[in-house]
Symmetry: C2
Subunit: 193 residues, 2 copies
DNA sequence: TCTTTGTTAGTGAGTGTTAACAAACATAAT
DNA sequence: ATTATGTTTGTTAACACTCACTAACAAAGA
């Protein structure tokens, strides 16, 4: 119907793909359903993406866009303590505004089907690891942190974020993630700073 | 071909279903592929399970069997410190022996498609939560632990286990999980005991 | 006029599931 | 011990449906 540029259409398609996965899991993401929701025909989808894998790749790009935003937000914070706080709270603020992203942002399984997807996923994961690691190392240099193995500590932080988001999702989002973020930050202050 | 009792056949089918998911993700679990691997016809599958959902339910039962084994193993330990250590190490020992279980034991997404599956999943999660919570509370009573919110601490522990298993899986199992378990235990001793 | 974005109609392959039938086994009567 | 009977576990063939994807064509915009 309405003619849109590829860029505009791609954005809409990826948005809707994420929504479909959020509502019914990855197995319910079909070109048919996607086309129906975007209100164009199925072949029109293929004007803007090579194939289904290419659409899933688009979702991964969204995820790495999030990571870019996270970095920019972290750069504004000066102390390593505030950076760690922002690392946690940025996740929670973002997911509270974009609930549907909870279904893909930590869903590695979706992206393990093909070599291309797996490689992009690994890049994102490595990049995240580097990000949190550098925050911890900086805090260690300034001796503001207990002497715990850096990679282990990074897994504790990301692990707690993930478990909190999972709990939030399973409870049908019936508590404030951001509030929880503050209490998590306090816990970490007690534990490691 | 070979005639087996329903119980025997069910076990084989669930085993193979877990293998298929491990190798190709949930989307590659089809009745066709399952029947081929078990070396019986597709309709024969339906002699032992009501439908596909029933098979996935069988996988969930496997997972709750694991939790039962975990409880028994925990009961043998006396101090709360040793219980926490066993909680972590039992996971790692089990998964090192059953690598294919890494693909389903923390894969909530697979079990979110239907009401029945979701309810059973929730039961398992609640049960796990109670298990780790009781260990922490016991340690707190004996004042062997820092005063940190119990549910938050439980999420830290499970979160770290999950992140470690994820890292192990993504690395194609190229390090010893059990060794990592020991170093994790030491980290927790430094942090909370 | 040419490129881009859309359409309708259809492809072959795969999905979960069922009907109808056959052979293996367990049990009880001969 | 053999035979008859009923149940359980298997088979082949087919069902309607959905899947990702394509060929051929139309209309909108530059």
């Amino acid at each position: 119907m309405a003619r849109l540029s590829t860029e505009e259409r791609q954005k809409i398609i990826i948005d809707e793909a994420i929504n479909i996965i959020h509502e019914g899991g990855y197995e319910s993401l079909s070109i048919r359903e996607l086309a129906k929701r975007v209100k164009i025909s199925e072949p029109a989808i293929y004007r803007h993406f090579l194939n289904k894998e290419d659409i899933v790749l688009g979702i991964l790009t969204r995820i790495s866009d999030f990571d870019q935003q996270l970095i920019q937000s972290l750069n504004k914070k000066k102390t390593s303590q505030k950076k760690l706080n922002e690392f946690i709270c940025f996740h929670f603020k973002f997911l509270e505004k974009n609930k549907n992203m909870t279904s893909v942002i930590f869903a590695e399984d979706i992206f393990m089907q093909s070599k291309i997807l797996k490689e992009k996923l690994m890049k994102i994961i490595m990049h995240r690891q580097k990000l949190i690691t550098s925050i911890i190392e900086e805090a260690k240099e300034k001796k503001k942190i207990k002497n715990i193995d850096t990679t282990e500590l990074s897994k504790i932080i990301i692990g707690l974020i993930r478990m909190t988001v999972l709990e939030w999702k399973l409870s049908d989002f019936n508590f404030s993630l951001v509030k929880k973020g503050n209490s998590i930050t306090k816990t970490f202050e007690k534990l490691i700073f």
